[in-house]
Amino acid sequence: MKRLKLVPDDTNYDFFGYAKLTFGLSCVAIVLSLAVWFTMGLNYGIDFRGGTTVRTESATAVDVATYRAALEPLGLGDVSISEVFDPTSADDKHVAMIRVQAQEGEEAATPETISTIQEALKTVAPEIKFTSVESVGPKVSGELIQTAFLAVAASLGAILIYIWLRFEWQFSVGAVAALFHDVVLTIGIFSALQIRFDLPVIAAILTIIGYSINDTVVIFDRLRENLRKYKKRPLREVMNLSVNETLSRTVMTSGTTLLALIALLILGGDVIRGFVFAITWGVVVGTYSSVFVAKNIVLYLGVKRDWSKPDANAGNQYANIDA
């Protein structure tokens, strides 16, 4: 039987041949992401900035301008209205998201505020339905953003320690640098495309961390095995061999995961689209970083080569790069 093979047998690509280019590309991408993040900012959802979102559903097309005109006289401050498109929804189902800033002196929106919004919208679209109303007070949103950053930092820290214990400190630095790369690039794309950034996206970022480290660890694991096998070959070659040997698996796993995610991205509905998009993006970036970022850093830092004996030359690992 003919088998589907995404990667031919016995590949021998030189992954370091373009090291300067790929590594440079990653650095540029990181700088760009940070630049976009700091200049354009993130389109924070109410989880992180407080306020109220109302999700509406109506049989007639959403006219953002009329909605806006209806809400204008209420004096609610910053109001943003956007129509939500979904390829799977029926023709007579038009969904809009309306976001209103947190009101002065209120934590979560009071029933009065919510009902004035709903009444105002009913005047322009009589059969409108309100399928969800969510409101987060400024106090909670401040804490949520703190928790989110803490979660990302804690994950990176935990992984740094775990990889350090299981491998060598160079590996853990390489792995965490790759993860940092993935996280920053994900934040960058959310900033550049101004996709709503809320709590589930943080969960997605943590998932990306989990996925990307998975990939990196598999390569590292093979590298460690090969380092024991080929004691005399240059580190660069052994690394290249390891990446080539695991390439088929890297592509297969990314392939199945992406297949599942793309199905979810298209068919899973708009409620979790941001979340799924973040993970999908992360899988692509994470796969790239496992192959092109993590091990470059390990190569740069060098590793202990003699795994057969107890660690005799700890603290002297740089000397062994070309051993």
Partner: protein, 549 residues
């Protein structure tokens, strides 16, 4: 080599069977849910023919645990409330005042002074008695009865130049906060139970917050109407009635607005005659004119106090105060000995029903501030379930096809393991009563994509080992052996992330963490042990000389 002992085989098969057995009810969600509801209803209030038929929808000997659907899938309301614990300090001080006054009476007359909430200031008419007065007030202190606060007093007394200041001690504040939270949780639980919704979640979060999730309720606003009111009911003597909201009521008195008549204010004595705590029952009813009202009954002490007061004050007005607003202030017509009465006001039927519920369940010890609220409509939840189902099916099919196309027979083994894997996830979710949320569904889809990773690692490894021509049996066993370290490392790191997500997240995110974490455990089990069992079975029967993976 390629051998698995019999007891291991049985263990693996048994684990799969039990997991799938537990997952089975989820395939018949509607009937099983009706069965469970009927069983609960019969437990509570006896059987009816209707309930019996619902009970019969699912056989008793089958497992009936279901995966709970989160609010984002079922629809309902979510509230995060902050308990204003400091409210209680103020009422504690209010209660301390008469004690202090009476204790000092024999020494020197005292006057109460203006003070910030949570503090009591008392001026002595005779400042020379300061030292003795301080001693007496300190004598009123009680020991704090908690583990951490053991040995410290409940009040701190300081004095200066004839002025004594009393506040709660830190240990007592902590103990009070703890009590306030426990009471608030209990009262909220009782109120929601009174309304009779199913499977509400009422949890304490952090030091002073309570998370309330009620599936199936129409909106958070409705929920707030039930739990947002403190419902502190008191009956106070009326001093005077006026129309100026800025009047100085005088020390020991309160100036409160009327609920119905705008611009009317009552000056009341702050110390109530009877409070809502002394109620034993409250029911919605109607007054003589057929308007909605709430009838109530006091317990024995409440009834005695109420009886005595009404006997002594015939002809004077009497205010019924709910949460610092005067509902009504009727004049006492006669002695009311029985300890029951009726509250009238401008109620709608709904309001009187709600008020009766609130009074029955008891008053919240402190006010609530809602810091987060979410309402998800049932249609949106259903849409999400539908979309999730389609997406999961498509994702599943795509992965199965892809695996089979890539690895042939071994891919087929992996596919069976994958199907068992998803079954096991549902089995475990049902077993621990976890909640499935929309991101949780995404977690399952992601697990489907990632679960095959372990198999990919193994199969790729077998392919490599085959190249060195050691024979199929050796290649398979080496493949499983050598891939294990990578599989474990990769999954442990992801598991760490799931744990962090679980600890720091809440609601939907936590649901995601649960499915991701369980998915990791089950996928390692199915991808490693279950496929291996299948491969060994196949190998023992076929004994192939050549192997293509």
């Amino acid at each position: 080599m390629l051998q698995i002992s019999l007891w291991k085989r049985l263990l693996i098969a048994l684990t799969c069977a039990v997991g799938l057995w537990l997952a089975l009810p989820n395939a018949f969600y509607g009937p099983v849910e009706q069965h469970n509801d009927a069983a609960a209803a019969i437990e509570k209030s006896g059987a009816t023919p209707e309930l019996e038929t619902q009970l019969a929808l699912w056989p008793e000997w089958m497992p009936s645990g279901l995966v709970n659907l989160g609010l984002d899938l079922r629809g309902g309301a979510h509230l995060l409330a902050e308990v204003n614990v400091a409210d209680v300090y103020a009422s504690r001080m209010e209660a301390t005042w008469p004690e202090v006054r009476d204790a000092l009476r024999s020494l020197t007359p005292v006057r109460r002074q203006e003070s910030p909430a949570g503090e009591l200031r008392v001026r002595l008419n005779d400042p020379t008695k300061m030292a003795e007065a301080m001693e007496t007030v300190r004598g009123l202190a009680r020991q704090v009865t908690t583990l951490s606060g053991a040995g410290s007093n409940d009040i701190v007394v300081s004095g200066d130049d004839g002025l004594i200041t009393i506040t709660l001690s830190d240990a007592e504040m902590q103990a009070t906060d703890e009590r306030t939270m426990q009471q608030s949780l209990e009262i909220i639980r009782r109120r929601i139970d009174e309304v009779g919704t199913r499977e509400p979640t009422i949890q304490r979060q952090g030091t002073d917050r309570i998370l309330i999730q009620v599936p199936g309720i129409g909106s958070a606003t409705e929920l707030k109407a039930i739990i947002g009111t403190t419902a502190q009911l008191t009956f106070n003597p009326v001093v005077s009635r006026g129309s100026n909201g800025n009047d100085n009521p005088g020390i020991g008195n309160l100036l409160l607005p009327s609920t119905d008549e705008s611009g009317v204010f009552y000056t009341l004595e702050a110390a109530p005659v009877v409070t809502g705590e002394e109620l034993v029952d409250a029911q919605p009813s109607f007054d003589q004119n057929g308007r909605p009202a709430v009838s109530f009954r006091f317990d024995t002490t409440g009834a005695r106090k109420f009886g005595n007061y009404t006997a002594e004050n015939i002809g004077s007005p009497f205010a019924i105060v709910l949460d610092n607003e005067v509902i009504s202030a009727p004049t006492i017509q006669s002695h009311i000995p029985g300890g029951s009465g009726i509250i009238t006001g401008n109620f709608s039927v709904e309001e009187s029903t709600n008020l009766a519920v609130l009074l029955r369940a008891g008053a919240l010890p402190a006010g609530l501030t809602f810091v987060e609220e979410r309402t998800i409509g049932p249609e949106l939840g259903q849409d999400s379930i539908d979309a999730g189902k389609i997406a999961t099916t498509v994702a599943f099919a795509a992965v199965l096809l892809f695996m089979f196309a890539s690895y042939g027979l071994f891919g087929f083994f992996a596919n069976i393991a994958l199907i068992i894997n998803v079954g096991l996830i549902f089995g475990l979710l049902s077993l621990i009563g976890a909640t499935l949320t929309l991101p949780g569904i995404a977690g399952i889809v992601l697990t489907v994509g990632m679960a095959v990773d372990a198999n990919v690692l193994i199969f790729e490894r077998i392919r490599e080992e085959l190249k060195t021509a050691k024979g199929p049996a050796r290649a398979i066993s080496l493949g499983y052996e050598k891939a294990l370290s990578a599989i474990l490392d990769a999954n442990i790191t992801t598991f760490i992330i799931a744990v962090i997500l679980f600890m720091l997240g809440s609601g939907p995110v936590r649901g995601f963490a649960v499915t991701l974490g369980l998915g990791i455990v089950t996928s390692v089990f199915t991808a490693y042990f279950v496929t291996r069992l299948m491969v060994v079975f196949w190998f023992e029967r076929r004994r192939p000389k050549q192997l293509t993976v």
